[in-house]
């Protein structure tokens, strides 16, 4: 019996190790590659023999990568703020107010998120040029809302619907109007859900590539994913892997930090409502 259990445990941890290697190795390889320069890139080393920071310095010196990061921060931050504001108010209506066509509306919202990005790309392009925001970060903020709003609204509606009805009624009796109910009674209870959906919206906006490359033209308007893709070497024939990797590592770090900061919120967000509080 004991031996079988021991074998089972060994197999279990082998599987765990395999999964960890599978998920973490690409990121590890990016870090390792970013620390190599020149021909060292093409040698297979699990640990760089001579770590060099040249790539990290290079992306900031040879092009305006700081500007790209700033653009990404502004775009992702604005997208998160606008999506949360709109979806919190929308989810109050969709989750708490009875009206005709509510289910149809919810399904429409879900359907919007099923369109492939390419399908809306050309229509979005027309809209963007008509509004005169082509090659500005406004075009990205606007277009990313298409990606984030459906799921933030959908998730928050689910949470909103699960909040006890009596709370809202107690607030009504206390003299609260809908806006007060949302901001002072419901929002504090929705924090875990807001952290979760906000983070997902941030990651979506941070990593988005197709809209970003289509709606921006000049280098100083670009966001990080496009900037990385367009990093060029000394000649057409050289792809500067080292700098691409260094840039990738830099833009991944904020996400890792954000997830770590909000980790506990996310966990409680995912399980909130599972047990009676």
């Amino acid at each position: 019996m004991g031996a079988r259990r021991a074998i089972g445990r060994i197999l279990f941890y082998l599987l765990v190790a395999l999964i960890i290697v599978y998920t973490v190795f690409p990121f590890y390889w990016a870090i390792v590659s970013s620390l190599k320069e020149g021909s060292a890139l093409y040698r297979v080393d699990l640990f760089p023999p001579h770590p060099a920071w040249g790539n990290y310095v290079g992306i900031f010196q040879q092009q305006n990568f700081a500007r790209n990061i700033l653009n990404s921060v502004i775009v992702a931050g604005a997208v998160v703020a606008v999506s949360l504001l709109l979806s919190v108010t929308a989810s109050y209506a969709l989750g708490r107010v009875e009206f005709r066509g509510r289910t149809a509306l919810l399904l429409t919202i879900l359907a919007v998120s099923m369109f492939p990005q390419v399908a809306v790309l050309s229509g979005m392009f027309e809209l963007v040029s008509w509004l005169g925001i082509y090659d500005t970060i406004w075009s990205l903020i606007l277009s990313y809302l298409i990606l984030t709003l459906p799921f933030t609204t959908w998730v928050l509606t689910t949470f909103m619907r699960d909040l006890p009805k009596e709370l809202e009624e107690a607030a009504l009796v206390d003299g609260a109007r809908p806006w007060t109910i949302i901001t002072r009674v419901f929002l504090p209870l929705l924090w875990p859900a807001l952290a979760t959906t906000g983070l997902l919206a941030f990651i979506t906006a941070w990593n988005e590539f197709m809209f970003a490359i289509t709606f921006t033209l000049s280098n100083e308007k670009r966001t990080v994913p496009v900037a990385i893709a367009l990093i060029s070497g000394a000649s057409h024939f050289e792809l500067p892997w080292g700098r691409v990797m260094a840039a990738s590592v830099i833009v991944t770090i904020p996400l890792v930090v954000l997830v770590l900061v909000f980790q506990r919120r996310i966990v409680s967000g995912l399980t909130a409502g599972a047990v009676k509080g």
Partner: protein, 369 residues
């Protein structure tokens, strides 16, 4: 002066009418209890008074003003919910102060009112805690405290005790009875528990299927129920209904034949309409009025079904001729074997009489003391 007046109030959800025309006058400082089985519309009626449900038709006046369209906060009411509905992220103090804060009362007034309510309810030491750190009874006190702080004209209680355990329920019931004297406000209280209704109410409103069955003081309803529903709803165990037949009808007197053939003569008001010899009637007798045979005016015999021992009393269930069940209250420690033949007596003075339509046939004598 906060009277609450309902005039032909109805409520429909789509085609389904759940409140079917309720007329009610509730006086200032009166404690009125809405009672009825689940689904009778008592909570809906309360929520209509609160302003949480729209009134489909009819009129509602609080303190003389028509408030059909007024927001809950403009009606001068405060409500205590069954699930307490405390704001989980606020401390007890903030919970109680929330309504006043929204009304932009100044800090000193808020402080004073919250402290006063906390003193009345003896929750002063809990003011800094969060609701999750409180027991069920404490939460309910805070919910009541939140209502008191608003200084309302009308208190509305929606089954406030049904989430508490039995011991706490009795204790909180006493507290509410004490509050009733302390606060200068009208109170409407919804419950399905007839003991709460009997002990707390100045007047009870018995509701059934969206209609008011009877309104009156607890004893009035207990002693002179207007119909079979009220008679059966109040009292535990419920009143015995014995199917009987009218035998002789004379002015002011009605003789009925009980199962087994015994006769019982009751004084009735003149003009019990439509009752002739042979009409099917129901005789209602409460278990405490089913006496030993030698003290009864008529004797019913049957076999013992079961005996329940409650410690302070026991209940004897017997099956009479004609396959009807009769419950009798007896002293504790009654011993009887199943199927043992037994006789019980019925006192004419304690009987209720109901016609085939379920309405009470009015008695000519005053209710027994």
């Amino acid at each position: 002066m906060a009277q609450v007046v309902l005039r032909k109030v109805t409520k429909s959800f789509g085609a389904l009418q759940v409140i079917k025309g309720v007329d009610l006058d509730i006086a200032h400082r009166e404690f009125v209890v809405f009672v009825g089985p689940s689904g009778c519309g008592k909570s809906t009626l309360l929520r209509m008074v609160a302003g949480l449900e729209d009134i489909t038709s009819g009129e509602l006046f609080i303190d003389g003003a028509r408030v059909n369209a007024a927001l809950p906060s403009q009606r001068g009411i405060a409500m205590v919910f069954q699930s307490y509905a405390l704001y989980p992220h606020m401390s007890v103090y903030q919970n109680m102060a929330f309504g006043l804060k929204l009304a932009r009362s100044d800090r000193a007034t808020i402080e004073e009112r919250v402290r006063k309510a906390a003193r009345i309810l003896q929750i002063e030491e809990l003011l800094e805690r969060k609701p999750r750190q409180l027991s069920g009874g404490q939460r309910q006190r805070v919910a009541i405290g939140r209502a008191i702080t608003r200084n309302p004209k009308v208190f509305l209680f929606d089954e406030p005790l049904s989430n508490l355990d039995a011991a706490l329920r009795v204790q909180t019931r006493l507290e509410i009875a004490r509050l009733k004297d302390e606060l200068d406000a009208t109170m409407i209280y919804v419950t399905h528990d007839q003991v709460e209704a009997m002990t707390l109410a100045d007047r009870i409103v018995v509701l059934n299927a969206g209609r008011v069955e009877q309104v009156g003081s607890p004893l009035e309803l207990y002693q002179r129920p207007r119909n079979l529903f009220v008679a059966g709803f109040l009292g535990s165990p419920k009143m015995n209904f014995i199917r009987s037949v009218a035998e002789t009808v004379r002015p002011g007197q009605l003789t009925v034949r009980l199962p087994g053939g015994a006769h019982l003569t009751l004084p009735v008001r003149d003009g019990a309409p439509g009752i002739r010899s042979g009409t099917q009637l129901t005789v209602g007798v409460r278990p405490e009025d089913v006496v030993p045979p030698e003290r009864g005016d008529a004797v019913v015999s049957g076999g013992v079904l079961v005996v329940e021992q409650l410690g302070s009393e026991s209940y004897l269930y017997l099956r009479t001729e004609g396959d009807q069940t009769v419950v009798a209250r007896r002293d504790p420690g009654l011993e009887a074997k199943v199927d043992q033949p037994v006789k019980v007596g019925v006192r004419a003075a304690a009987c209720h009489l109901f016609g085939a339509d379920g309405l009470a046939i009015e008695r000519a004598d005053p209710p027994p003391a």
